[in-house]
Symmetry: C2
C-alpha cells in the first residue's frame, strides 16, 4: 500500500534522521535517489526545505511547514489503513506512548497488560521522558499519545483530558510522620527530605511553597528519578514528594505511606494532561486505548479525591 509519491516518504525520513545518507540507509535505497527527490521537492515548492550544514540537514521555515503537511498525510494514511483493516475484523497496529515517569509504576503497565489481553494484535511502544520532551515527541510525530504535567502546551497539540492528583509526602512505614493523615510542608522539612531536581516537575510545584517558608530546610538528597526517590523513602532515608500514582505496589505492601500535603489548609495539586496531535484523527485501535487511559486516570482521580469535583 504505497500510494504516496516517494518524495513524501523520503522527505519524512530525512527530517527524522537529519541526514540524507542516514535516511537512505533506513529506506534501503541509494543516497543519490533521496538527494534527488529532496532537490525536486525544493524546486517544486520554490524554496529550500533544508539548511545544509556540514554535519547534516536542518529544516527551514518552509521545510517545517512541509513537515507538518507530510506528518498529517502519513498519520492519516495510518488511520486509513487501520480503518480498512478493521473491516476484515482484526485490529492490528502499534500505539506509541510518550509519558512521564509517574505513570510507569502501575497505571501504564496495568493498562497495557489489560489492553493486550483483549486485543492481542495491538503492540505498544513507550518512551519515558520529561514533560516538555513528551510534548516535543508528540509535535514531531514520534508518539501518538502523550502524558505529561499539564503545563502550557503548544497549539499543535490537543489536551484530551486534565486530571489532578494530590501531591503528598512519601515516607517509610516506620517514619515518625507515618501515623499522620496529612502533613504540612513545614512538618516534613523537620526531617531529611529527598528533593526533586529541576528536571522533574515536582521541583517546580514545591519550590514556590518552600520559598515562602521562613526556615531553611536542612541539607537533603537530590535526585531526578521518581523511582529512586521512592526507593530511598522506602529505606527510611528521608521524605520524598510525589503523587500517589507512583507508589501503587509499595503502598499496597505497606512499606510506604502516602501523606497528602496540606498547604495552609488547601491541597497541593499536580495536574496531569493527556495530549494528542491536534491535526490528526487517531486510528481506531489508538483511539480505543486513549479512551481507556482517560477512563482509568479519571477513576484513579476519583478514588483519590472522592470529594473533589471531577475535571473534564
Amino acid at each position: 500500500m504505497r500510494f504516496h509519491s516517494p518524495a513524501i516518504q523520503y522527505f519524512h525520513a530525512v527530517r527524522r534522521t537529519g541526514s540524507i545518507r542516514a535516511a537512505a540507509r533506513v529506506l534501503n535505497v541509494a543516497s543519490s535517489a533521496v538527494s534527488r527527490q529532496i532537490l525536486k521537492l525544493e524546486q517544486e515548492v520554490g524554496a529550500p526545505l533544508f539548511e545544509r550544514n556540514a554535519r547534516g540537514l536542518t529544516l527551514t521555515t518552509v521545510g517545517e511547514m512541509l513537515a507538518r503537511h507530510v506528518m498529517n498525510v502519513l498519520q492519516d494514511l495510518d488511520r486509513f489503513r487501520s480503518d480498512v483493516a478493521s473491516l476484515s475484523g482484526t485490529w492490528h497496529g502499534t500505539v506509541s506512548i510518550a509519558c512521564i515517569e509517574s505513570l510507569t509504576e502501575s497505571v501504564l503497565p496495568d493498562l497495557i497488560a489489560s489492553h493486550r489481553g483483549r486485543a492481542r494484535r495491538v503492540s505498544f511502544t513507550t518512551e519515558v521522558k520529561g514533560s516538555s520532551d513528551v510534548l516535543e515527541s508528540l509535535s514531531r510525530g514520534e508518539a501518538d499519545i502523550g502524558i505529561a504535567m499539564a503545563l502550557r502546551h503548544p497549539p499543535d497539540l490537543r489536551q484530551v483530558a486534565l486530571k489532578r492528583f494530590r501531591l503528598g509526602a512519601v515516607v517509610a512505614r516506620e517514619h515518625p510522620l507515618a501515623r499522620r493523615k496529612t502533613v504540612t510542608l513545614e512538618q516534613c522539612l523537620a526531617f531529611p527530605v529527598i528533593n526533586a531536581l529541576p528536571e522533574l516537575s515536582i521541583y517546580h510545584l514545591l519550590q514556590p511553597l518552600i520559598a515562602q517558608l521562613s526556615e531553611t530546610p536542612e541539607p537533603a538528597i537530590q535526585a531526578n528519578s521518581i523511582d529512586l526517590m521512592r526507593e530511598l523513602a522506602a529505606r527510611g532515608v528521608g521524605v520524598a514528594f510525589q503523587t500517589q500514582l507512583g507508589i501503587g505496589r509499595l503502598s499496597r505492601d505497606s512499606q510506604l505511606v502516602f501523606l497528602p500535603l496540606d498547604n495552609a489548609g488547601s491541597p497541593v495539586w499536580s495536574d496531569l494532561g493527556i495530549y494528542v496531535r491536534a491535526e490528526r484523527t487517531l486510528p481506531a485501535y489508538t483511539e480505543s486505548f486513549l479512551q481507556e487511559l482517560v477512563r482509568e486516570l479519571g477513576e484513579r482521580e476519583r478514588r483519590e479525591n472522592p470529594a473533589y469535583p471531577q475535571t473534564p
Copy 2:
C-alpha cells in the same frame, strides 16, 4: 507544486465526476491513464474502490474510506500552499461557502464585500441550498464553510458556532398587525399566511406549534423561497415567517415590519450553525473569513436579543 502521486488526484477527480472518462476530460489526460491509476490503487488496497455501474462509478465502502483520506490530504495541501504563500506576503485563494437562503439578503453580501475590500486576492464561491444539502456539500469537500439550521450534524463536521435568532412574523407596513410589538401565532393565523414548504426549515419550526392550536388556519400561500415569501409579505399578500436576518434592507426602508413571535410567553428560536469539516485545518485566509463570519453573526444575535445570554 504537485508532490502527490497522480493516483491520488485521479481518484479524487473520478469520485467527484462519477466517471473515468469525465475525470479524464477534467484532468486533461487520456481516459486510459485514469483507468490504469484506479486499477493500480485497487490492487494496492486489495479491494475494489468503485462499483462499476453501466452509467458510471460509485464508491464502495473501502472507496469511501480512501475518499476521506484523499480529501484530508488535498485539503491539507491547500492549507500548506496558503501557508507558504503567506510567507511571501500576499494572501490569495478561494473561500467556498455553502449556506441557506436566509443569509443572502444582507449578512453574506456585506461580509464578502467588506472582506474583499481588505483582501483583494481572496475570491469567493457561494452556493445556496437547503440545510441538509449544505452539510452534505461540506462532507463531500465541495465547500469550506457551511451555514445551516443547527440540526444534528454528521460526526465528520464540526460546529464552529451556534447562533440563535428569534423567529417572527413579517408583514407589510400597512398590515393590521404592524403596530404591535410582538405577535402570537394565533393572532397571525387570523390573517392570510404565507407558509413555508417542508423543504424550508421554518416549516419544521412552525408546524409543531400550529399543530397545538385548536383552530385550523385559513387557506394560505405556500412557497419554498424565503425571497419570494418576503416579497409577497411586502405586497400585503399575507403574513410570512422568518428571522430578522433575511429582511435587512426592506426593514430599513420601512416597507416591512418584523414582529417577534410570542409562543405562550416565550420566544420561538431559530438556531443557525456554522460548520467546517472536522478533520481539517483551514487555510489562513479561510480561517480569517470564518472568524469574521462568527463575529458578525454573534453581533447580529446580540443586537437582536440584547437581554439573551450569548451562545458559545
